[in-house]
């Protein structure tokens, strides 16, 4: 009840919700998408299955943490031919490395509704540090987190062999996330 009232007040007064902690993800409203460039052409894709553990209190961001684990085989890389290709050895090698994992190490406030999360991303057995700016807004009892960051696919060995040719498929891949999580009761 208290959370309900806080959220309602926040929505009504458009004030940042204080002392709300977000947890469970709403998978239907959340999305994890990416854009790669092939021959200069932006091609969109997304992941269907991912789990997110989120703890975020806008009033105490230094205590916030986020982690996600996504099933690489749930990829939609834009076409059936591409989907069959990217789970293979040269790309994700999803049989041996079925998931990509992110673990946050720190979250900081950038002012307003903007924040920044830093953490480690592990794909195909390789770990890299990543930093992603994101925005947060309260939507009823939900928290909506949206952000984007860019990874270099070759640092993770994604697209080896002939696919290492970045004039065909660019090294930079943009990742966009939108996570909708419910307030913890």
């Amino acid at each position: 009840m208290k959370i309900f009232v806080t959220a309602l007040a926040a929505a009504a007064l458009a004030l940042p919700a204080a002392a709300v902690e977000y947890g469970t993800l709403d998978p239907a409203k959340s999305s994890l998408a990416f854009t790669s460039k092939q021959m200069g052409v932006p091609v969109d894709g997304k992941f269907g299955k991912f789990k997110v553990a989120l703890s975020f209190d806008p009033a105490a961001v230094q205590k916030a943490s986020a982690g996600f684990e996504l099933e690489l085989a749930s990829i939609d890389a834009g076409s059936k031919e591409a989907n069959d290709e990217v789970v293979g050895k040269d790309w994700f090698n999803a049989k041996q490395f079925p998931t990509a994992v992110f673990k946050s190490t720190s979250v900081k406030a950038l002012g307003g509704n903007r924040f920044e999360v830093t953490g480690t991303l592990t794909i195909k057995g390789r770990t890299q540090n990543v930093t992603a700016p994101f925005t947060y807004k309260a939507d009823g009892a939900n928290g909506v987190f949206e952000g984007a960051f860019t990874i270099k696919r070759l640092q993770f060995g994604i697209g080896e062999g002939p696919w290492g040719d970045t004039s065909t498929v660019a090294d930079d891949v943009q990742i966009k996330f939108r996570l909708v999580a419910a307030a913890r009761k």
């Binding site: 092939q38 021959m39 200069g40 091609v43 834009g78 002939p162 696919w163 040719d165």
Partner: protein, 180 residues
């Protein structure tokens, strides 16, 4: 412009052969690339095919502009009316297909969710949203129309050769001035 000229302008001749050359490249490259396994090479070839095809579309639009502002030289009186009708029919159909084939290719690309970026530089708008069923339909249509165009090109070229060697009426030399 009441009397028809006896010759094509240099612009018309240049457009004719430039477009012909691009079609001679785009058609076999299209047939070759579809059966390749996915590889960077395939992605490159598909892009080149699209760039060549869009260039055809652009040049055909220029050519149509030429055609509506100029009168082509008249067909010789040695041709009977059925022959003239067939020639005009084939030319109109070729104009139609030179628009339809690349346009349907572009539609297919949009439907597959791959925007077309001309020469990797100029992004063209998506003509339709991503849709698997539309993509399949346009793919089929692109293939059939491309073959129909190839067929008419063969008939068109055979007719030109016949004019030159059998009728000897100088028709081919109007498009190939060095034959004179």
């Amino acid at each position: 412009m009441t009397t028809a000229p006896t010759q094509y302008t240099r612009t018309a001749i240049a457009l004719h052969w430039l477009i012909a050359l691009l079609i001679f490249v785009a058609f076999p490259v299209g047939l070759y690339m579809v059966d390749l396994p996915l590889s960077p090479q395939k992605l490159k070839i598909i892009s080149w095919h699209k760039w060549a095809g869009i260039t055809v579309l652009a040049l055909v639009l220029v050519r149509i502009l030429w055609r509506v502002t100029h009168r082509p030289p008249a067909l010789p009186d040695s041709m009977n009316s059925i022959e003239k009708l067939a020639a005009h029919g084939a030319h109109h159909l070729l104009y139609l297909l030179m628009i339809a084939v690349p346009l349907v290719g572009w539609l297919m690309s949009s439907a597959k969710g791959f925007p077309v970026v001309w020469f990797g530089v100029l992004p063209l708008p998506d003509l339709v949203g991503k849709s698997e069923s539309l993509a399949e339909f346009f793919e089929e249509a692109h293939e059939i129309l491309a073959w129909l165009m190839a067929l008419i090109v063969v008939v068109h070229a055979a007719a030109a050769v016949k004019h030159h060697f059998v009728a000897r009426d100088g028709i081919l030399a109007r498009m190939l001035p060095f034959l004179k």
